[in-house]
Subunit: 399 residues, 4 copies
Amino acid sequence: MTLPEYDFSLKNGLRVPPLGRRLRLGQVGGGQGAIVGNWHRNGARLSNHWDLCAGAMSRNADIAARSAWDTVIPLDRSYNDFRAMAEAEASREDGIEAVCICTPNISHFEIAKTFMQAGIDVILDKPITTTIADAQDLVQLAKDRNVVFAVTYPYAFHAMIRQAQSLIAQGALGPIRQVMVEYVQDWGTTSEAEENASVAWRRDPNIVGRTSATGDIGTHAYHLMKTMTGLSAQRLRADFHQCGGTKALEDTAFIKMDLSNGAPAQIWVTQAAPGNACGLRIRVFGEHGGLSWDQEYPEQLIYSPLDAPQQIFSRGQGAGLSPAAERLAHLPRGHGEALTDAWGNLYSEIGMVIAARRAGVTLPKGLVQVPFGEDGLDGVKFMEACADSAQEDAKWVHL
Amino acid sequence: MTLPEYDFSLKNGLRVPPLGRRLRLGQVGGGQGAIVGNWHRNGARLSNHWDLCAGAMSRNADIAARSAWDTVIPLDRSYNDFRAMAEAEASREDGIEAVCICTPNISHFEIAKTFMQAGIDVILDKPITTTIADAQDLVQLAKDRNVVFAVTYPYAFHAMIRQAQSLIAQGALGPIRQVMVEYVQDWGTTSEAEENASVAWRRDPNIVGRTSATGDIGTHAYHLMKTMTGLSAQRLRADFHQCGGTKALEDTAFIKMDLSNGAPAQIWVTQAAPGNACGLRIRVFGEHGGLSWDQEYPEQLIYSPLDAPQQIFSRGQGAGLSPAAERLAHLPRGHGEALTDAWGNLYSEIGMVIAARRAGVTLPKGLVQVPFGEDGLDGVKFMEACADSAQEDAKWVHL
Amino acid sequence: MTLPEYDFSLKNGLRVPPLGRRLRLGQVGGGQGAIVGNWHRNGARLSNHWDLCAGAMSRNADIAARSAWDTVIPLDRSYNDFRAMAEAEASREDGIEAVCICTPNISHFEIAKTFMQAGIDVILDKPITTTIADAQDLVQLAKDRNVVFAVTYPYAFHAMIRQAQSLIAQGALGPIRQVMVEYVQDWGTTSEAEENASVAWRRDPNIVGRTSATGDIGTHAYHLMKTMTGLSAQRLRADFHQCGGTKALEDTAFIKMDLSNGAPAQIWVTQAAPGNACGLRIRVFGEHGGLSWDQEYPEQLIYSPLDAPQQIFSRGQGAGLSPAAERLAHLPRGHGEALTDAWGNLYSEIGMVIAARRAGVTLPKGLVQVPFGEDGLDGVKFMEACADSAQEDAKWVHL
Amino acid sequence: MTLPEYDFSLKNGLRVPPLGRRLRLGQVGGGQGAIVGNWHRNGARLSNHWDLCAGAMSRNADIAARSAWDTVIPLDRSYNDFRAMAEAEASREDGIEAVCICTPNISHFEIAKTFMQAGIDVILDKPITTTIADAQDLVQLAKDRNVVFAVTYPYAFHAMIRQAQSLIAQGALGPIRQVMVEYVQDWGTTSEAEENASVAWRRDPNIVGRTSATGDIGTHAYHLMKTMTGLSAQRLRADFHQCGGTKALEDTAFIKMDLSNGAPAQIWVTQAAPGNACGLRIRVFGEHGGLSWDQEYPEQLIYSPLDAPQQIFSRGQGAGLSPAAERLAHLPRGHGEALTDAWGNLYSEIGMVIAARRAGVTLPKGLVQVPFGEDGLDGVKFMEACADSAQEDAKWVHL
């Protein structure tokens, strides 16, 4: 019996790996005690596109080995040095085809560079580097080495964000006139929280560079706004504050922007707002309507046409969703999908991009929307512009 | 039979007029076609402290008379000139004891001055004038003439705002570290809305001065923040925008402040955000907890102690409310009170202040919280500081 | 100057008394310590159709007098006997034109009868009597004496209920296939609450008859369902329970009905559901869509067309409301109206009915929707059918 | 280097497979076009406890093969007959250790029996059979053959359900006095939906037995109530209705119960309530408080202590959760987990049970809460009691 070839133009089948096999994934960072590494692994597993085969999950050999055992990586493919891992895996026949890197920011550059140079596709957490120059170098290197360079902005992979894109693209809002984004948390309200090692590095300038909350969650907010509206910042002004316990860097930023179409926008990020866990919310207002979405209630997209009742879009057949949004929906409406599912979508789409390259297939334009190195570079530029502005009393800084 | 005297220290009895009779109220403005005048009348009626006896509800004699008929004012006490009204009423034995003024901003000063000079207590809508100098003059005149000069900020008269005050005063939040206020509407999204006469004047610099949305709704937002937190702005920077149809003045303002305790705060006001009707929302964050309140759901105050479950306060016995909050609650919990009731509370408390003065009684400190002329002056200063800042690219302006 | 006559067909002007004067109202019950009497007075005041002129607010002369003082009723028109009041008021030139009766249920019949016989219009709280026979007698007597006999079901006077009626009448739901109503409270969870005098009578069979929660709040739920859907119960089965402290009568009832069109429906009432204050919620499901409304959030009506996004209707211009719904809206959208406003609407519409009769005018069909004696009788029949069914293990009882 | 042995008493580590390897899973049913099979696979993958190695995903060999390709099952382990699969897999060294069965109800019995007899652990979807006798036979057979017999009730695997259990067990509610459960959907509103093959079988008495909605979603509701409260039904009465298009079986049931402690409870299930996608909601009321949970917002558990503000529990450190609830939480608070994560938890806990048996370890009592065959049998008894009652006009039926 011969099976039909995979159809890359498929509207559905997001969790079907195109090559009839899963891709081999390695992970750097994300060992026991880490937070973000779990999300990558969850996404990779749920996507059905990946097998986790190798890891350098800690620089401590013991923790690395235990972490490998926990995640069912063979111990002979558990490394405690990323360079050793890149070398060894590049030389194996069954070596990893891509690596996901979820270490603290400062190490992103060297690690990503090493794997790119070894010809291994890179999936890198944000912010991709701590300087613009490094980010530009990585983007260039990925081109030179012809490797995929994907960046993990998972919030853009909720079905309702695709629906928002579709509505905006169809003109449901008319010209966009203002945008308000907030990403508010509370884990940085006290200094004690910072004593947790998995958290403390986020406030250390030697590890994260010139910004803390801005690089950590502001880059998510900015990417989400760009993805949803298609607009970016021309220039911005930023105020940095410490609204929680004493820290070396800001836990709060108020960022005012002029968007590419001239409309004003604002991003407010804080990690010192008690009562807010992961309050990433975006509101887009145009001449004919508004849209509102909240990451903590990701299944609802509220559309407010001017002078007509509000409408609530949710996932699922018959709910008036665009095909691009339906594509990201796996369970029937009401059978909740949330951040885990968004990570699954992200890893599925990265898997499709990589599989398509290996298969020599050109993906239909617009079908997948993986954030690539340039999107990561944009995040670093945003973060650095905020730092520049905050340093001089919120002066205007052009991007 | 002798009835006991009214006890001004009463915790309840907000709708019992202290003098055993209702006070005599006149109204300037608020005739047929107007919006705000209805709210004043609703509040006055509901409070049970007032009888509406006279009015100059329009400069057009016909409209004035019809409006008087609608509101059951005797036609011989319907005036089409506020000066005539002040003179006539001041000379009647049964003349009005207070006047509520709800005309467009530019006329506030002359009308209020005229009634103050006639010795009649004044209840004035906000912003009280279009210039700081005029506002200062009115405050001084009220003192000189020894009249009550109350300003109508109704949102501060929801029970949950008193509860928020109590919680903050008790230290439930710890030191306040940041505040976010927004007052977002959508009636100004198109230019057509502005063709409505009851709306058009709000964009006319000859009537409202240098600001539109900022004076109209920004002053409410600023007063609410002051009332709830006890903090005011030291300095601010403001950006003005037109995010809806073409207008002479701003429909949107982003206002960044340093508060009196050094904490950052922000007020965002817009009348061009489709999907928002009367979105006055305030979030206060301290070292130990946060508070959140939304005018469209005024019965819930969300309190988020750090590291414990969120709590929802609502009106009503047994719900852990402070006496000051209970005092403003009239119906059992869940039997909704909303803006009409807040206006009723405002007019009750003004009635108590005036009755106490007439009775020669000193009200227990803190029992009533009527906004007086100084609060109105603060609003004008805020509005003018915003205009000064916006004029020079959001420079810092001290208040 | 001659003013134009009042136009009874006016779409708006709900708070304009048609006769150019307010009607004279008396109140029986509702003195100090009572709850419901306040709502009647609030509604009457807010409506602008009524002046409260006389009262028999308590059988205790002292309390009656104090209550009169509180509510600014002249002491010579404060009675401590309703018969004396009816006689005296009927013989005064300026005697009351209507009386609102808000005493405990058992006394409704005698009081209403007395005022009807005196030719005074009657506004009676629900349930109108404790037996079907009494209710029928009152309905007949009102006809015989040609007096208005209005019953106070305020929840039907929210703008969104009229909107729901309009949507259903237009076929937005298609044929109605099932209805779920709940009215859930928690004040009866403990026995202590019952020690409060204003509450205790609600559990006393000598005062309320055979049902407690069912007559108290079940009648509201049933009336709301009838109003919104146009359907009534053909037959029902009811289970009564005590889910809170020990009581003489039920605090909880599960009522299953077959509606007049054959569809199943259910009413669940309880006063022993901690966390619920006044949870009157109705959900109506048809072949093409559903509607959902919650008294605690009365400004939103959720309409769910099958296979299209949900829509949220709210009050206000441009929001797609029917004229009948707009008619009950007084403030702009988002400027919250709640139960106080609904009572105001109820008293306005009663005022219009009475004024129209006095003016010899026939009101346009469907313009006002006052619940009359027959609606009150329906409530008593519903309550009695529940009692009959519960007594025999939830057997079917026809209405 | 030697790794420490897995500690089965671990509070966390839910996604760490105890044996240092994943278990081998097979699937019967769930091929292309099916719905529920995806959820099983998602849960298995996300859990990190399972590798899907074999399948009989359709009786049609082509669909079976394509489905295997989609899910990366080797084609030589794709079967189109479950008996062949059981035989072949049982005889392989690397044969599957457990099978998940997600075929239409009527086939559950034979398939489960076949795998049990082959000594393979069984994970069976609900309702486990179409008759009580069959269910009892399976329970007995699992004992006789000493295989694990797990039943997939995923809703009980949300962290907030464990939190609810903890609160109830600690007495936060006091004695439970009434319970209200609803599971409301709308996909059965029209007959057209039923034309979809993946749906049509749910209404076919030859496939599902005597009930449709009751067996399909009522069993979920009943299991959730049992899990959360520890109470079951003593007796019940049920009304069946068709509130959507014409069907052979009920799409709606109203089920009234007397619980094991004497308290009344109700389950309302319908698949014909437009606007409801997966509205599984439970409210539990005791003498001292209430709890409320909604599957569509699974991250919030609302706790209403009597006479104190409501509290909202959510996942995450510092939020006052019990260890049993924390154990099911994988992402920081606010980083949404939903149904996919609950399925992951279910498959993790089943994995732990099976691994512990293979390792000869006795799990700490209460650590895992897998629904076993007896829970599945309870569901069938509930479903059959409903059918018995509905057949005789909602007579009482004892369980």
